[in-house]
């Protein structure tokens, strides 16, 4: 009844698999898209955008710089600067001034931001549990391990631990 889009009643039997349907980068992007869609709907119901949620999730555990937030939020730095402007105006985050390195701005949650995050984090965990619980036994952890490996491999040589 609420099928997304695309072919619907078509039911083409021998739909020759297009190139993209088996292309790994497409599988990754599509899986991410689909898995996130349901939770993003919960966010929308709370009046929180995806970008805002990512900022809340990162700052939930502590302060962070604009650059670090941009990287974690999967967006470019100017985009994050403007998002933070909006979130600051809305009273969710606060620029805490500069630390030892005076180029960097430290960001933190306000009380209102912390309260909003406190509502969303449990929802995120619950959704994640449902998502992983629907996979065959063991597959969930295998997936997560593979993803972590892929990420670590792409990041190594750069911003790791000290």
């Amino acid at each position: 009844m609420n099928r997304p889009l695309g072919e619907k009643t078509e039911a083409a039997p021998a739909e020759t698999a297009g190139f993209h349907e088996d292309y790994t980068l497409y599988l990754l992007a599509k899986a991410s898209e689909l898995a996130s869609a349901e939770f993003h709907a919960e966010l929308a119901a709370e009046g929180v955008s995806v970008g805002e949620w990512r900022v809340l999730a990162v700052l939930w555990t502590g302060e962070a710089s604009v650059g670090a937030l941009a990287e974690a939020g999967l967006m470019k730095q100017p985009t994050m600067t403007k998002l933070l402007d909006r979130m600051a105006a809305a009273g969710w985050v606060r620029r805490l001034g500069r630390g030892g390195d005076r180029r960097r701005v430290r960001l933190g949650l306000t009380e209102a931001g912390r309260a909003q995050a406190a509502v969303l984090i449990p929802k995120a965990r619950a959704h994640e549990a449902r998502l992983l619980g629907a996979l065959p036994a063991g597959e969930a952890e295998a997936l997560r391990a593979a993803l972590r490996g892929l990420i670590a491999r792409r990041m190594d040589g750069a911003g790791g631990e000290a």
Copy 2:
């Protein structure tokens, strides 16, 4: 040389793993982002945007409707309509008129579009091979299987049950 952003030489003290770093939806999105980044750079070198590439890749194997292209391209339908307008103006795709269902518009590649796709598809395959080849034995196929399972589960009306 093209380090992303974020903390670099700072050697953050005891960077307690933030919530998001172990959150499955973040792992999916970040892995997709990182894995795609290199190939997207190749696309940029060819003067092709990510959206354009996705259209070329889908139409490579045949015709498709606007809705199907939007779903495969991970964007909303109005976005795809406008993208197709631009690609048609650039001479890469063509609206082929309507078929049996007169609401649907069939899209196809022009010769120029086909030529561009013919250059990019092998590059995509090569990049994919490098990406998967860098993973431990067996992990590549396990990852792909898990992603396909996740996608299939989300597309079969497995919406809300848990």
